[in-house]
Subunit: 375 residues, 4 copies
Amino acid sequence: MSKHYDVGIVGGGIIGQSIAYQLAKEGISVLVLDRHKGGSGATSAAAGMLGANSELEQNDAFFQFAKESQRQYHLLQDELSNFSQIHIQLVDKGMYKVALSQEEAIALKNAVQHHETLEWHTRETVLNHEPSVSSEIEGALHIPEDGHVSPKHVCEAFTKSASLLGATFIENAPVQSIKKASVNDYILSTPQGDFTCNKVVIANGVWSGYFFKQLGLPNRMKPVKGECLAVKSNTLHLEKTIFYDHCYIVPKGDGRFVVGATMVEDDWSTTPSLGGIHALIEKVSPLVPGISSAQLISTWAGLRPQSEDGKPYIGVHPEDDNILFATGHYRNGILLAPKTGTMIRDFILKKKIDENYVRAFSVTRNLAQSNEVIV
Amino acid sequence: MSKHYDVGIVGGGIIGQSIAYQLAKEGISVLVLDRHKGGSGATSAAAGMLGANSELEQNDAFFQFAKESQRQYHLLQDELSNFSQIHIQLVDKGMYKVALSQEEAIALKNAVQHHETLEWHTRETVLNHEPSVSSEIEGALHIPEDGHVSPKHVCEAFTKSASLLGATFIENAPVQSIKKASVNDYILSTPQGDFTCNKVVIANGVWSGYFFKQLGLPNRMKPVKGECLAVKSNTLHLEKTIFYDHCYIVPKGDGRFVVGATMVEDDWSTTPSLGGIHALIEKVSPLVPGISSAQLISTWAGLRPQSEDGKPYIGVHPEDDNILFATGHYRNGILLAPKTGTMIRDFILKKKIDENYVRAFSVTRNLAQSNEVIV
Amino acid sequence: MSKHYDVGIVGGGIIGQSIAYQLAKEGISVLVLDRHKGGSGATSAAAGMLGANSELEQNDAFFQFAKESQRQYHLLQDELSNFSQIHIQLVDKGMYKVALSQEEAIALKNAVQHHETLEWHTRETVLNHEPSVSSEIEGALHIPEDGHVSPKHVCEAFTKSASLLGATFIENAPVQSIKKASVNDYILSTPQGDFTCNKVVIANGVWSGYFFKQLGLPNRMKPVKGECLAVKSNTLHLEKTIFYDHCYIVPKGDGRFVVGATMVEDDWSTTPSLGGIHALIEKVSPLVPGISSAQLISTWAGLRPQSEDGKPYIGVHPEDDNILFATGHYRNGILLAPKTGTMIRDFILKKKIDENYVRAFSVTRNLAQSNEVIV
Amino acid sequence: MSKHYDVGIVGGGIIGQSIAYQLAKEGISVLVLDRHKGGSGATSAAAGMLGANSELEQNDAFFQFAKESQRQYHLLQDELSNFSQIHIQLVDKGMYKVALSQEEAIALKNAVQHHETLEWHTRETVLNHEPSVSSEIEGALHIPEDGHVSPKHVCEAFTKSASLLGATFIENAPVQSIKKASVNDYILSTPQGDFTCNKVVIANGVWSGYFFKQLGLPNRMKPVKGECLAVKSNTLHLEKTIFYDHCYIVPKGDGRFVVGATMVEDDWSTTPSLGGIHALIEKVSPLVPGISSAQLISTWAGLRPQSEDGKPYIGVHPEDDNILFATGHYRNGILLAPKTGTMIRDFILKKKIDENYVRAFSVTRNLAQSNEVIV
């Protein structure tokens, strides 16, 4: 029979491994089970933007949570490198969220008032800093804090650090069912056999929908497929990420520009379609005209896990606080991974957690009221 | 709600797709669900040898079944190409099963007596036909019928042909549980939602162990990991597959030589280890010395699904003949795929099936008596 | 000092290797030098269409030569497989050259009169045979003989067959200069050292421009870069190649659809640009609308070698018949490789060659008169 | 006609691009021509060790030059990131050069006396720091300064920085010949056409042998092929590079362990052979036994350019100081690239250069006396 673990985590992507890392640091025995290879799902499809300001527009608990998570990366960078020797490739040069019309410019200028670090840059200022950007823009919101990391390397660094701290990580172990055997004793059944643990964390992104249902909860998880591509060029230079209408060009620290992403609802395929790549090229080419001459080096796709209101579920099962959820991170999985890791750790260690966060990400939050348009 | 299907097949590898193809040809509505991408498991890891004679040593029902399946490929080649335009790359130039010692030579010479197409070739004859083979051999058993196909292309040809004939194939749809809703109504639950069907075929190789258990059966499925590599060379020529002690060098029709395979028990990882590749090189280099100078182009690994007695389960659930199994093909999945497809089709269509085959592959065969050594 | 060879061939692509194969079969000692890896240039970038009728519109010597070469593939298929065990993946199901406008339809209908195997198919007939083609077409010219091969496998089959027949093939051996040492003695200088031979064949495609100049000839060689992509789909089916305005969708025998190609003049880069792939998608999507849903699996680019009049140079140096040229095959290198191989062989063996071919492909043909528009 | 350049550089690997970068920073117009793709030769095959102390054993000019170059990387790291946004992945955690026998231990202990930063570590100390190292070792020389970089990223960062500073880089432009047209006017002939410049730098590694000869010099350049592999593991941890008898295991900052390298003389092929990889595995497995369980992820090969005495040529042509050489860096191209760049820059700007370096790397140094054994 397998060893018994304090905590069993379903899902070895960046969320699950961030949790595993935080728990292993506390000396908790932890098991991570991944259906396939760790980080091979939404994690490695992501561009890695830390877009707290660019993605989130209201100054609410979600925004505060995102900002804290963004800041955590600055500590994690060295911490993870010390444990694992893996560099997470944090780049911290900011972002331009551009406006192509007067209307868009007005909307972005409004944002400046609510967030002190943001600045409105005129067309001239933008072109001064980023001469490759189209002169057709009206201007851009400058967001100095929104950098980016390499999601693959963050996930590998969490995984290896957790492993060296004692966590167990098993690949090719899809969890078929989660069953309560007795008080404080859960059985995770997989084709590799059964594993037992005191607490379970469900952290397998879009695949977690099944477990909400199996565990008696009405929450749903929908895939929003995103198609991406990467280009290279010796003559195109960007310092900052260029962002417009959910699409972006991210100048990565390895010389690639990562361009994303389409938004295809209810499509579970994980390969890019010809039409999707076509649409993506049409969307971003006008932002940085020189990108047409860049060399196309790869294309890929992944599935963002979208909850009913577009916010993650980070919290306990309403009837059993030994079952925790950390899923539904939608477009923000990379950004939110660090803080999700520490918040789940705090749930497990019964530490104090900011009530605003508990409410905001509660599995039982009043979803009916959350009638935001999800974009 | 999803469409209802006559038959739901769990697993989109070569076995599941062979079944889907045979059913779709009969006008049966069929759904194939794969946990990941079709054919991405053991199918694409296989070398594609059609080793009826080289792998099986007794002239029993299993052997007859294998021979029939081997012959089916000759018809399938054109049939699948007509439907799908995909060539399965059948090569039909035979195999040498070599002996390095006097003892091995004697054992192989015995085999000649039982199978009329087999011949013992002396060292001189072998070197005459295959000058690249080591002159250290004692001789070899010549097996003219044991050719090979490209497993990836067979699986894709089955998939596309079935699809064009009306079958539905859904990727990224791991079946979490199989439940009976009512008579003739099964629910296959997946993160993508529930699918219903009249009959279920479990054809997901090593991953099927979970469903035997879930469906109340004691049968087990163990992985035997196999690591492989491929080389290329403009100067090395082989006409026939060279086989020795479960290892082989297969001269594929695309110019590669596929070399396999290690046998690692109870290892669920699907990546080759450095030590595994090391062992494989040591094993095959003495057979064809010139292979050391060939260019190493790739390495990979896969999981063979091994039943208790090493033979597949092809048949119905003892208490419910709407649940069928087609799994446990171990080292012979590619070889047995065609005949497995037609046999499962015949079960579903209630056609007459050779009783010897029904018994040999029965889910409830007396495994205790089958005390063969599994190799 | 290196061994002396009868014939030294500069360039190990499909043209050079076809020549090497024909010479080696005659027992001639032959050396092939490639600047990089054999077949890694235009050869492996090509889609492999054998478009004698679709590419060439006049019933002239060039057309006759192309038809002969096309037919040679039917013999080469078995011949090369016997020598090398490599299948060239000849598919022989014809092509539709579609008309989108009335004007285009009239032009294509005219072609029917000159070539007896061609037929005009109305929209209805086309959609009957190929339901995936857009219903917006006017109709299509049916060209039954224009099939396709896998260029990479043809080149590898030539290479391996030649090698097993005694030819020497050296990679990473860029020829820096060709010098006459004495009568019947040429020195090919490379960073690997000097090689000597009685006759030299220059067969390195777009890279051959330098040698025309070095050897005192005015002929030029311009690159016309072509960008391509490949998609896969289980539900999209095409029997025939669909061709329109130099672009095509080729249903390959391995299940891929190869889509090509852009025409970028004077661009020596061998990687696809984002803009090039964009243009290609826009061009072919209207022909087969369902292709937008297909999975994009790869993109690449290559350099077609274009002479002044778009026809190849196959013949001897005007002042020295020990120097031969076999280059400038432009869009038709795969199609013309077999016949180029036998024609160069015949030059070297002093066999009789059709005077029309000698004139048509002469290095000194009156290029001033060849004022055809090159497309 | 092409633009005229101050300096034309033959070869776009790490050496050529380092020079281009230093010249472009000084406002000099520079052209880099690469035969294929920049950095695709020995550069990207290298493991990137900065092994000044581990590779070089005498405290001579060569050693001093290497130490200076090693230190330059610490400045280049930020400088190149500022220009190009590309991180060179400098890791600076030192190296263990291990002894397996008493004799080897004595030899390494001697080295401590000559270099103050070196320390002898006993078996216990080594295992304390690096528990994955075999307990069969006698001890190891600890070399704190010998870190590593990512050669591919260094080369790309040089290339992009130079390009953004005004340098021109042309790929697929093999230089066929170098000719003097007039005083201060050289013609570099390529298939893409002729390029002219005032000065020429020959920096194309093993391919430079041809130009020594063309330019009347007796120097030779031999390839020493090196085969490498990379593995991954979540449980294997190394802080430092482990080095033994020209082989090494380098824990890269991206989580891979790069293992190299074989030494195959006079082999110009750039693909790993099966036998070469076999030998490499046998060599390094005893050093870190746990590596056998690591996942093999890739294998590759490259050609080290070896001069007669194993030291680079960095200097001017004896009869024409407008022709410079920067080649023959053998096992140390990555280590020496920064200092080679500044030294060639100083030659061109007529700045003062340390006479010891001029002599040590002179093209005309008395090679007859340099009867060192090259290892």
